[in-house]
Symmetry: D2
Subunit: 185 residues, 4 copies
């Protein structure tokens, strides 16, 4: 039986692996995304560790909705780099056209999974471009990261929201002595 | 020490309890929301039980983002019923003005937590108004459910998305023999 | 001077033309989208004409935000048809995977431009698949319309919202004798 | 005939007037919102005038979708100030609880009307709190602006998007000599 004859069935593991692999191949490490999270959250949680940030980024990237956005965005970046898109979409993506907002639309679908409190953090890092986002926006070589920079900022914002919701849970356990964990988001 | 002097601190349990209590006080039972979920999903999962639907509705209602939307929407319905809103917001809410879309905006923030696949289910039940949604839309008495009908439809759509993501996980465990659970959303 | 040396500058006309052309090439006519609008709105506006529906669809398709979503979605459909996407994105798009929601995300960015009142109409036609949507969902040939069916439903929903906002404006002019047009959305 | 007997009919003028009046009563001037627009856009359009910023803010505030969000948000702020909301919603709004995101949800429905390119600008001003936003966030008196600060930031972001889309139209007219105006958003 050839592969063409096997009926399609979603393989969640392959989707998850492709997400991690593609981020890596496009030059983005878990540590770099975690640094954006630290940048956004250290002010509120002085004891926050890089390990916690990395774990939260990994949890965000384990969500199917977010994997779909990451895969689609990176795919469009790669095709734009190879010049394989139709005009004028090709030109808009090659030049990171400021009036093209589908990258922001995908970013938003990432942030949304952890609720609306992440909107602000996403907008903030997308404007300031700290850390890895600056490198992704450097247009001096031939790489195209029109989608990737928004996606990375959105993953960092989502991880920040996840931390904020969980830290509240921990705080309430301390206050009340209640041992039941309460992970609202 | 009077209550006014206790510094504010979010109490997640109170928020969760108020959500369940208010839905109950506004006449909506978990079973009725679960029936909407069954209406939306039985075609895809013939073995789906009411118990599973109820559990998924409860999990959706345990999310903070969703509790915030439920509390805010029901609060606005109650204030409209009591005639306590300013004109012309009062008139728009009292009459479930079709060009007022803040109810849909809140509904959407509920659906989003379980990803974009729920958009369609939300729109579908909001248009068809099956089961409890028909009763909430009956304008013959003096109750106002401008927000509540959208909220209930959105919670049912979110629970449907949750089921779809989890059923996929179960299917893949069966196919692969992999015992590690994979709850992507 | 070769084309490569001309600095990039967004050409809005080309973007608009590509949008109309691609919809046509993918087999969708303005009349078919207008029929979806008529399907959604005739109940509320018995005098609504096909001409009005077509004009509203054209106005929706003149918006840059919507053109960007249409171009991006159709591009992904075409690349999937040609087998040019990376695995597992290729398989998800080829099979219109129900847990892949980026098509709904793009659809939503279209609906949003005319406000939240269109969410319901989008979900409704996306579920019922009347008219052209049924043909786009027929998986018997080798065409792939994973994005296009959602996009067409969203454009029809957006045009319906546009009509609803404008009909209200006309009604108020009649009621008040006020001749100043009021096109709120 | 008493007012109670007049059948309800949406009065768009009253909605528009209430929007402007309430912003004024809550201490926000058109000039202050325009200053936020200038802060966001002067870098890209050095010739941008305050008059243009004010006109764009006014156009944004003429949209029904945006008026609905403004009225609803300010209403909730006022009721919170008067202590008229149910617990624990009252406490969350009084304390601008950081895990309560309905204010961001409403803000987002405002930004969306002018497309996704405004997400970043909204997040940026909401984090930095320049100008009027700083005053609205000053918690030293008894006013509550939990919704208003997000709303004002969102209106400024929407007006910035409107300017960006229109400036592109003007640029293309200059380049092509084409006199037909092209207001895509």
């Amino acid at each position: 039986m050839t592969e063409a004859n096997i009926p399609y069935s979603l393989n969640s593991k392959k989707v998850a692996e492709a997400t991690t692999r593609l981020l890596h191949e496009r030059g983005v490490t878990m540590e770099e995304i975690a640094e954006l999270v630290m940048f956004l959250q250290k002010k509120y949680y002085p004891d926050l560790t890089m390990q916690e940030c990395i774990e939260n980024v990994e949890s965000v990237l384990a969500k199917r909705e977010i994997q779909n956005a990451v895969l689609t965005g990176i795919q469009l970046d790669i095709l734009a780099e190879q010049g394989q898109l139709m005009s004028p979409l090709q030109e808009m993506l090659s030049n990171d056209e400021s009036l093209y907002g589908v990258d922001e639309v995908l970013a938003f679908s990432i942030v949304n999974v952890y609720g609306s409190i992440g909107f602000t953090n996403y907008g903030y890092v997308d404007k300031l471009k700290p850390g890895v986002l600056q490198r992704l926006n450097d247009k001096s070589d031939h790489t195209i990261h029109t989608f990737l920079d928004d996606i990375v900022g959105a993953v960092a914002a989502a991880a920040s929201s996840r931390i904020a919701h969980r830290k509240q849970g921990e705080r309430e356990i301390e206050l009340t002595g209640d041992t039941e964990e309460n992970h609202n988001l």
